[in-house]
Amino acid sequence: MTDDLSPDERDEELASLLEVPPLDDVTRERLVTRALDDASPRRSTRRLARLLVPAAAALVALVLVGVGVFALVNRDGDNAGTAGRSRTPEAASPSQRSPAPDASSSAEAATGVRDLGDLGDVTDSGELRRRVRAQLDEARASSSRAAPPRCLERAVAGSPAPTAYATGTHRDQSVLVLVLPASGDRSTLVLLDTRTCRAVSVFDLA
């Protein structure tokens, strides 16, 4: 078979042995069709789309998340800036400035009862009466408290409701002084322990 051949020549006997029967038409058709389908631009486009669509969706989601985070951070930043400006009203524009609330009127507005301020030590009943009268005679109270003192709301809700109130100390104990209307022009001063909201002393105010 090969003994008389140089390698350059084709071995016809071996060639005949190596021959392979042709494919049947169905198999050939199937192979060609699949190869064409696999290589067609339409299929390539579909493959590309299969790759790109999830990537694009992920990108869009990423962008949306990014925009959301950016907006959130900016909003927080604006709030912080606003808060900062509110803490430094000098920096605010005139239109943004609001008048500083009157502390006493704020407390009075909350309760609807006149605030006489802090009377100091009112252990002495005479001193208590004198200071209450003096504050009642004042055109305006000097209190700067922002919120009503403890126990006042409960007192306001009771009957009779106080016409004025003040704070002070009685025997080194923090007290709330209530001015309650009595018969005629008289009033009654009631001192409430601010821890327990219970009355510790009661005096007439002529």
Binding site: M1, T2, A15, L18, V20, L23, V32, R34, A39
Partner: protein
Amino acid sequence: MTSRSRAADEGGSDDDLATRAGAGDRGALDTLLARHADRIHAVCRRILGDREDALDATQEAMIAVARGIGRFDGRSAFTTWLYRVATNAALDEGRRKTRRPRPVDPPAEAAVAASHEDAVGARVDVDAALGALPEEFRVAVVLRDLCDLDYAEIAEVLGVPAGTVRSRIARGRSALVDALGNRGRAGERPTSESRHTRP
């Protein structure tokens, strides 16, 4: 003859069809693939030895041709390029096959297969003899004696010097003669020693 096989015989030269197919002419590509499907299959069949593996490799080669036809530049003959694609597909399939677990034929089936081989005679023995050859010898012999490529073309397909091609063909043929000469002796298969006893 089907419409496709008729079309395979029409349409002009391979180079002309390849040019048109490379430019996006689907009909030209169809004709080209149908025309050369048998050649591609024959190369894969002889390199791999197994019919199913050969069909898989043929499919892969045809897909590679269809996808890569735009890169065929015409510097070599179309058939040279085609055989390179087919050879690479067959070798790739062979490597995949060695990585895949293969079912072991039970003795009864092996006996049936042996009797079937006896019935079909020499052609089956060629498969066995080729299968016993080292891959580089087998490919060189297939490209020379089955595909009728000359040394320069085989050297181009395999990317080796022409002298190496000559040596591989000589040694491959010699080993084949030895293997086919053992045909009459039942159970004997060419061994690595017998393959390498002749230059």
